[in-house]
Symmetry: none
């Protein structure tokens, strides 16, 4: 099946609300092997909505599933139900059960609001019948199925018409999500089964660090060029690259197999540049290595200002291996907390390999950890000299008696330098731990 | 002008990445009076991208601005530049300056990676020329203007063709945002001016902290309801609220005047809840107060894990007042570095007001600063109890003999609790410093 998602709402079009629904629906459809070929956003405007529906129906790539999300509310500008019925030439029929349900819902709300001292909306509602507009929510195009919504007053709608399937969903994310999970996905999966379509679509993400986007593209060019099934989509992140492999197949086993074949070829080319898969972050993978090897970690950060510590502590349970970080921004704190000799700072400068090494040893001693990372550099924009320019950074790693340090020159603005330095330090520790015999 | 935004990328279509760019572009266009009428998402597929461009051009509502975002990278599946040129029948020409720039960028990256002892990636790159694919980023459709990108290798493209304007932007949000602000919006505003639109449009942002979104909306309801010129757009950020006031006028003076009148009314309602304007962040404003009052600051962070320190050190020049942070994730480090008595932790628990206060005093003593902030809490998801649930946080502020602490209960997941705790601590210091006589 080929799907189009039409999100309805002027607030989406103007950017006041971010269209998270479309992404979430697309991911849910992918799980049962339905690919999304188009996403559109249209405002609360009858003509444009009607044209968006017509465009979807007439697409030359043969869309056969149209999901409309939003515009099922009780206000005047909620038009999705009526517009779809008009485009398809179907009359709207009142659903007796949902009408009854709406009456009960309204009665209950009125009782709940009938507390003393209630002002405004509560008082306005008392003594009124169910507003006429709310009753529109019980209307269903002839031949369609009403999908009961347990989280709100707008039900979903599911409609097969010749080669096309239409699904209408309310816009609030938790209502959309509930209806998709409980009503729509099971129906679509059944429909696919009956029609013998491609049953599944499975993705796998390989996460790469320490190698640039264009270099990855070049190394993988022979693989990327011929890709059809699975597809390989490279995506750049700060200091990282994610390669998403996606296979279509008749069942999950076969899709996993297809992905595995391509993944093996990518591993053969990129090797240890791949540090993890799927949702594994570099901080989580490094944390697992620490845990597995029974090691604790201490940090001494200067130019990264706590960012490395922040990233590591984003991982739940990181307190099991991360003892802490000394963000020694001042030279005084480098001396008092990390016991870096003042004369070393005076002789070598705070941004130097010997000071980075002394910071790592100081963190090890203060925290009593097995390993330590230290970072000292010039994040900019000020503070650079010809000899020591902005972006110059030294990173040291200590483990017991073992001590190593490296020199880097990062480009970019202040926050970018911080990000790249934190990533490089994390990568250094990851490589150190993963290469241990 | 009527705009359509076409976001390009299979990762968007499949929902692996949420389309925040379209919303952000729509909001920026609205500020200069351009309405977005359609948003579309299309995958990295030449035929479908070409059809999406054609559809935009042929819309019956007369779209005259088409913004394409994404697909300008160096990999094989980045097709936006080539596809637009093909649809419009324009040849691509090499931009000499950007070609030179790409060579320099690549040369610089190669040098930066050339540190001794570096393994893998660094060595692989040495001796290679600029990859052929990267050079595609210097190609521009005939008659178009190249918009230099200071944050990445893909430049933007700006093209007028008869009644239509096309803008091409790279997909990474910070690159898109930079080019929109610095290149696209000024050009579009000039273009609108030449075509008889309102000559200027001036925005001013009031930044609010310590008061919820719905409370702000309630307090400002009378002002928000009648707004036409200037408009007032409230935008929620984690722990903050930004109110963007935007006036259209024939000249800058008049627009500033209109904004000033509305700003005064907002200040009268929200008063000291407004901590800054425009690009001033809470960390920058607080830093300025520290500088002005000749004070230095030390931090003791537990549950925020370095985030507060990271935020403060994002401000250029913060080393003049921030001495450092002790991220005391383990109880051992709370004792060894911050001199928190072990029996106090045993008696009160690490997450308690007395421990927060002792941490603040310890940071003051260790760093020799005039002020200190300390944060201890339970970020979750584990570690909560009935008595001390996830989200419970204590924040202490010390200045010489002055010592105060506050209890909070933050909602949300781990990273959200960290964010809210860091914001609350910063706000506490800001209020303390700003209320000094």
């Amino acid at each position: 099946m080929k799907a189009e998602i039409i999100a309805v709402g002027t607030e989406l079009l103007l950017g006041h609300v971010i269209n998270t629904n479309a992404a979430e629906i697309a991911r849910m459809l992918a799980e049962i092997g339905i690919g999304v070929y188009h996403q559109t956003v249209v405002g609360d405007n009858e003509d444009r909505l009607a044209r968006a529906i017509t465009t979807a129906i007439e697409r030359p790539d043969g869309i056969d599933l149209v999901i409309l999300c939003g515009g099922l509310g009780p206000t005047e500008d909620d038009l999705t139900r009526e517009t779809l019925a008009a485009v398809l030439g179907l009359p709207l029929e009142r659903n007796a059960e949902w009408t009854q349900h709406l009456h009960e819902l309204f009665e209950k709300r009125r009782r709940d609001l009938g507390h003393p001292g209630g002002s405004g909306s509560g008082a306005d509602l008392r003594g009124n019948d169910l507003p006429r507009n709310n009753l529109r929510q019980a209307m269903v195009p002839k031949g369609a199925t009403l999908l009961p919504n347990t989280r709100g007053s707008a039900p979903g709608i599911y409609l097969h018409q010749e080669r096309l399937t239409f699904v209408l969903l309310p816009g609030p994310p938790e209502e959309m999500r509930g209806l998709m999970r409980e009503e729509v996905i099971p129906r679509l999966a059944r429909h696919l089964g009956q029609n013998g379509g491609e049953a599944v679509l499975v993705s796998r993400v390989l996460r790469v660090t320490g190698i640039g986007e264009s270099r990855v593209a070049e190394l993988l060019a022979p693989l990327l060029e011929g890709q059809t099934n699975p597809t390989i989509a490279p995506l750049a992140h700060p200091g990282e690259m994610h390669l998403r492999i996606t296979a279509h197949a008749s069942d999950r086993e076969r899709a996993l197999d297809l992905n595995e074949k391509v993944a093996r070829r990518i591993y053969a080319v990129l090797g240890e540049a791949i540090y993890g898969e799927d949702e594994q972050t570099l901080e989580a993978v490094t944390g697992e290595l620490l845990l597995k090897q029974g090691m604790t970690l201490a940090l001494a950060e200067s130019c990264t200002g706590g960012l490395l510590s922040h990233r590591l502590t984003n991982v739940p349970g990181s307190s099991r291996y991360l003892l802490g970080s000394i963000v020694a921004y001042s030279n005084g704190l480098k001396q008092s907390a990390l016991a870096v000799p003042g004369e070393l700072i005076a002789r070598e400068g705070a941004v130097s390999a010997p000071v980075a090494e002394a910071m790592a040893q100081g963190a090890l001693a203060l925290c009593g950890s097995e390993t330590a990372l230290a970072i000292t550099g010039i994040a900019g924009p000020g503070g650079g000299t010809e000899e020591k320019p902005v972006g110059l950074t030294f990173i040291a790693l200590a483990e017991g008696e073992h001590l190593e340090s490296h020199r880097y020159r990062f480009s970019g603005e202040r926050e970018e330098v911080k990000r790249r330095a934190a990533q490089a330090a994390l990568e250094l520790l990851y490589r150190h731990l993963s290469q241990r015999p």
